[in-house]
Structures are given as structure tokens and as C-alpha cells.
């Protein structure tokens, strides 16, 4: 028990950026938009978040700046795919490259610096003797992410607006025929998802590692995309998947700590290999995929007059 709780806490901590990004991308995909730019949005957010947190000394401002950076890139993406009706795949790649280029550019003077350590955790709760020190000592955003997954589930399946969002992802033609502004709905979904991806990136640099290095997102943006298929577009399952992957990352360090005689590079491959396994398992059941995948995913939509 004594070693299990810290491990659980570390797993939640490692899974949070993945979960945030995947939930954000799930909002995109529910509206029928696939965004390959998540890696770039997270990278730029990580750089912007770190820079702001470094200069203001406030992690909260850093996270806010990261979310804003994610939203700005998302706005560019929305301009490309919604207003100009460009290919979602191509536009996503462009955002990925822009984001990673700009982040390396903006972050170059911050390499090797680190943030002042602050006390994390939820006030009051973390002071509960025993449990509090481990269970409630994580950054508030960890708990907020769990709340977000629940809220998003309620939103998607219990509200009218959520249903409309899903309808746009299933059949933009019908939503348009009923008089709903498909373009605006998609654009708002892209912005909301961009905010989440930005938060995820900033969490990595501001909270998780508390330092900035080039390319530090290390494929998490792409893993988040795979997680959505793993969770079959359902927020709670996506959250669970993210923690599973977070646990995997922790397992890597755990095994190393236990002195397992495997070169570190092979342990570092674990999350990527497992992502591939997940993709193979999910793709192998086209029935599931077809039932759950938003039907217009990846398709541009142009209303006819």
C-alpha cells in the first residue's frame, strides 16, 4: 500500500497531459474534424507556458498562456479547414510543423532553465494526514481533468448542444439542412479542443517536468490521437486509456529502478509499441469502429446553396 499510492499518484500525473489532449481532440473529432496538429499545438503551448511561468513566477499564468497558445494555433487550423475548406490532414500537418518550429524558436533561450518549485495539491485536502499527502497532493489540473471528462460526457450525451455537436460530426449535411451553422459549430469545437491541447502542453512543461527542452512532447500529441480510437470517442473511456498509458510510462521508470537488465531505450519504446498494439486491436474490429466513429470524420463540409 505504501508504495502503491505514490505509484498511483505518479500514474495520474503522467496520464493527465495525455488525457487533456485526447479529450480536446475528442471534441474536434465529435464535430467531424481530425486534427493531426496536436503535437505542434502542445509543443508551442509547452514553450509559451514555460516562458510565462518563468517570468511571472506563477504556474497558473503559465498554464493560461499555454491554453491561449493552443487556441491561437487552433484558430489558424479552423481558418484553414472551416473557412477555406482545406484538407484536414494536410492542415493538421502544417499546424504540427508550425507549432514545433515556433516552439523551438521561442523556447531556445529557456533550454536548461527550470521553474521554482511550488507546493502543489488542493488546499485543505492535501493537509489530511495519511491519505492527503499522496492522493490530494497532485496539481489541481489533475482533478480538473477528471471533472472535465465527466462534464464532457454529460455535455455530449445529455444536452441539446452536445447532441448538435455530435450531429455535426455524424452528418453535417443534415445539421445544415435543419438550419444549424455547421461552420461555426466546427470552429468553436476546434477552439475548445485547442484550449485543452494547449493546457496539456503547458502542463508538461510547467507542472510535470518544470523545464523546457526542444521536442519535449515526444509524440504525446500523436498518442492522444490513438487514445481516442482506443476509448472509442467516449470521454470516460479516453480518460481511462490515458491513465493506462500514464501507468505504462511510470512502469518504465519503475522497472529501471528495480534494476531490470533491459537497456533504457527498449523500456522507452513501451508506450509507442503499446499505442501500435492498441491501434491494431481496435482497427481489427471494424464493427466497433464503424459504430462509434463520427461518420464525417476527416471530411470537409461545404454547404450548397
Amino acid at each position: 500500500m505504501d508504495s502503491l499510492l505514490p505509484l498511483l499518484a505518479a500514474t495520474l500525473n503522467a496520464g493527465t497531459p495525455l488525457a487533456l489532449a485526447a479529450l480536446g481532440l475528442a471534441i474536434h473529432e465529435r464535430a467531424g474534424v481530425i486534427n493531426l496538429g496536436a503535437e505542434g499545438m502542445m509543443l508551442l503551448a509547452a514553450a509559451a507556458g514555460f516562458a510565462v511561468a518563468f517570468h511571472t513566477g506563477s504556474p497558473a499564468w503559465g498554464l493560461a498562456a499555454g491554453a491561449a497558445a493552443g487556441a491561437v494555433l487552433a484558430a489558424v487550423f479552423a481558418l484553414l479547414v472551416v473557412v477555406f475548406n482545406a484538407s484536414q490532414y494536410g492542415s493538421g500537418l502544417a499546424i504540427m510543423l508550425l507549432g514545433s518550429g515556433l516552439s523551438a524558436f521561442a523556447g531556445v533561450s529557456y533550454a536548461g532553465r527550470s521553474l521554482a518549485q511550488g507546493q502543489a495539491g488542493l488546499p485543505w485536502l492535501r493537509d489530511i494526514p495519511g491519505l492527503g499527502g499522496t492522493v490530494f497532493a497532485l496539481h489541481p489540473l489533475v482533478y480538473a481533468t477528471m471533472a472535465l471528462a465527466c462534464l464532457l460526457t454529460a455535455f455530449l450525451y445529455r444536452t441539446r448542444t452536445g447532441m448538435l455537436l455530435r450531429a455535426v460530426g455524424e452528418s453535417p449535411e443534415s445539421a445544415h439542412a435543419l438550419g444549424y451553422p455547421v461552420g461555426w459549430i466546427r470552429a468553436l469545437a476546434i477552439l475548445a479542443g485547442g484550449l485543452c491541447c494547449g493546457l496539456a502542453g503547458a502542463y508538461l512543461s510547467v507542472v510535470y517536468t518544470q523545464l523546457w527542452s526542444e521536442g519535449m512532447v515526444a509524440g504525446r500529441g500523436w498518442m492522444a490521437l490513438a487514445l481516442i480510437a482506443f476509448g472509442m470517442w467516449h470521454p470516460l473511456r479516453i480518460l481511462l486509456g490515458a491513465y493506462l498509458f500514464g501507468g505504462l510510462t511510470m512502469l518504465q521508470f519503475q522497472l529501471q529502478g528495480m534494476g531490470v537488465q533491459v537497456p533504457s531505450q527498449f523500456l522507452a519504446m513501451l508506450p509507442y509499441v503499446c499505442t501500435i498494439a492498441v491501434l491494431a486491436l481496435r482497427g481489427g474490429n471494424p464493427g466497433w469502429m464503424r459504430r462509434n466513429m463520427p461518420r464525417s470524420l476527416g471530411r470537409p463540409f461545404l454547404p450548397e446553396r
Partner: protein, 357 residues
């Protein structure tokens, strides 16, 4: 609000002009970026527009950078034509470097001079094997090829790290993560004295020609194009999407692998942790800029090579991070996509009142 109206007929000329316009606008964006950084814009742009073409040595460097880009871009064009979203050329390149590099390390001081052909073949096989993994996972399990090929890139990068930090590390390398340098027999010959341009240039040109012949003149190439462009028609004609998947993936893997071993057996002559500064990713843009046509990929590969050289010069002369190239690449791709919209659609400005239903 902006409204798009499909054009009756998109002009071919406009379709070919839009990459050029996109590049010109990218340069304008670059000039704005330099101005923002307080650098004389023309001084900055010179590094990208003039310096890469200035003198014999510069042309040699351009060739060195263009070879891997062209090889990958030609391979990716084949994949994208077949509607196979392979964006893991970078991983296939690294796999080629590993396989070829392993064979190169077996050569000794008195190995037969033609041995380098074996090294190149091993590189191609390595790239093919890595691409085959993606193709198999897609074919057998229906896994998304885009994500799989990307994840495999991270995996092979770590594998390369393991090899040069571990079993292949040069015992006399002062603990640098690198292999010992290859012997003469395993190295590509330099084409012109005084430059670094190596024989990989001929391979890249040959690959471009072969891919063009394959696409334009051969029956399998025709089937591949139809499968990508009109899946329904291809099904009706009995063309197998599986075949298109495997053909394009293996061809792309072979070319990317060749690019990787070309880098290692050409300019580097040893394995290090960084075989490529992202050539495989830049080649995705080169393929789009080149309109998924092998000849276009050749030209776009040269453009991308010039960008890389400009980025290196910006780093050494202006003290800017080399990642400025990534900004240029992203900008170029985004502008190209915008341009394509303008080729296909007419833009109408409408007042909200007029747009009301």
C-alpha cells in the same frame, strides 16, 4: 462571411502555379519574421534564396541535402497517390541507415571496393522492412497507417540510440554516441572534388525517373493511381487496394531506406544518434509541393534542401535556432493548402443579412 463557390473548371496552370505562389508568400512571411527579430529582411532572405546557389561548393551542399529529400518525397508521392497515409518516412529512413550501417561496419580495410553496393542494398531492405511493418499492421489488423508509421518512427529512433550508445559504439570515440567510421569500401564515392556531393545523387535521379515511368507508363502504376483517386471505380475494375498498399509502402520504404543509408555512407560515414534533421517529415511537404508527381518531388526536394541550408546559415551567421526551417515548412504547407482552395473555389464576400436563410 466568406463563402466558397466551386469553380466550373479548375485550371491546370493555376494548380501548378499555386506551389510557386505559396513559396513566394512563405518568403514574404520569412521577411516579416526577420523584420520582427530586428534583422535586415533582405540579409535574412539572402541566406535562403541566394547563398544555397552561390558557387560550386554550395551546389554540392544543395545536392547533399536534396538527395534524401527527393528520395523520400518520391516514395511518399507514390503512397499518397495510392491514398496510403504513410507519414513515417523518417522512421523508414532511420531503419535504412541502421540496416545499411550494420553491413557497412562489417567491412574491413581490404574489403572489395564494390562492397558499397551491398551496403546500399541492405539500406533499402531495412527501409522496406520498416515500411512492411506498417503495411502489415494496416493490411492484417486495419490499424491506422498514419499513426502506426509515426509511432514506428519513435521506436526506430530509440533503437538507433540503443545501438550507437551500446553494441555499436566506437570504443575509441571518447564516449561519443557514435559508431566507428566506415572503411573506404563501404563509403559512397564523392562526385566532384571540392564538394561533398556523392554518388547518391545519381540514385535519386534514377529513382525519380523510375517512379515516373512506373506511375505514367506501367500497368501496376496505373492501378495504383486509380485505387487512390477513385476507390469505387478501382473496386469495380477489380484492382486490389491491398496491392496498392503493399506496392506503395514497399517502394517508399526502399527509397527512404536508400535515403538513410545514403546519408550514412555518404556525408557522415558513420552512425550517430541523429541521422536526419527531419528529412522524412520535410519530404511530406515536398511531396505536396511537388503535386505528388515524381518530377515535382525532385524540384520541391531542391527547394526544401535550399531551406535547410538557409536554416543552417541562419544558425551560424545570425545566431537563430535552426528550427526556423520548421516555421518556413509549416508556413509553406499552410499557404499551399490555401492556394489550392483558391484554385478550386471562387471566394464570395457576403454580408450576414444576405447570407441569412
Amino acid at each position: 462571411m466568406i463563402q466558397l463557390e466551386p469553380r466550373a473548371a479548375a485550371s491546370r496552370l493555376a494548380a501548378w502555379l499555386s506551389p510557386l505562389v505559396a513559396l513566394a508568400l512563405t518568403m514574404l512571411g520569412g521577411a516579416a519574421l526577420f523584420a520582427m527579430l530586428g534583422i535586415d529582411a533582405w540579409q535574412g532572405l539572402r541566406l535562403f534564396l541566394v547563398e544555397p546557389f552561390n558557387g560550386v561548393y554550395a551546389w554540392g551542399e544543395l545536392a547533399v541535402k536534396a538527395v534524401p529529400l527527393v528520395l523520400c518525397a518520391v516514395g511518399l508521392s507514390l503512397c499518397f497517390r495510392a491514398n496510403v497515409w504513410n507519414i513515417g518516412a523518417e522512421g523508414q529512413l532511420i531503419a535504412g541507415a541502421i540496416a545499411g550501417g550494420g553491413v557497412a561496419l562489417l567491412a574491413g580495410p581490404d574489403t572489395w571496393r564494390g562492397y558499397v553496393a551491398l551496403v546500399m542494398a541492405a539500406g533499402m531492405l531495412g527501409g522496406m522492412l520498416w515500411a512492411a511493418l506498417t503495411a502489415w499492421l494496416k493490411d492484417r489488423f486495419g490499424a491506422n497507417e498514419m499513426l502506426v508509421s509515426l509511432m514506428l518512427t519513435y521506436v526506430v529512433q530509440l533503437l538507433l540510440g540503443y545501438l550507437v550508445f551500446g553494441p555499436w559504439r566506437d570504443p575509441y570515440g571518447y564516449n561519443f554516441p557514435q559508431s566507428r567510421s566506415f572503411d573506404e569500401a563501404a563509403v559512397l564515392p564523392v562526385l566532384w572534388e571540392g564538394t561533398r556531393a556523392h554518388a547518391g545523387l545519381w540514385l535519386a535521379l534514377a529513382a525519380t525517373g523510375a517512379a515516373w515511368l512506373f506511375l505514367a507508363r506501367s500497368h501496376p502504376g496505373f492501378r495504383l493511381r486509380v485505387t487512390g483517386a477513385a476507390p469505387a471505380a478501382a473496386r469495380y475494375a477489380g484492382y486490389s487496394p491491398r496491392q496498392a498498399l503493399w506496392t506503395s509502402m514497399l517502394a517508399c520504404g526502399a527509397l527512404a531506406g536508400l535515403a538513410g543509408i545514403g546519408e550514412v555512407a555518404g556525408p557522415m560515414q558513420r552512425l550517430t544518434t541523429s541521422v536526419s534533421p527531419g528529412y522524412g517529415f520535410a519530404a511530406v511537404i515536398a511531396a505536396f509541393l511537388g503535386r505528388l508527381h515524381p518530377a515535382g518531388a525532385l524540384l520541391a526536394g531542391l527547394v526544401m534542401a535550399a531551406l535547410y541550408i538557409g536554416g543552417e546559415l541562419a544558425q551560424s551567421r545570425l545566431g537563430l535556432p535552426a528550427s526556423i526551417v520548421g516555421v518556413f515548412q509549416g508556413l509553406a504547407l499552410a499557404l499551399l493548402l490555401l492556394g489550392d482552395t483558391l484554385v478550386r473555389y471562387r471566394i464570395r464576400w457576403r454580408r450576414p443579412a444576405a447570407a441569412a436563410r
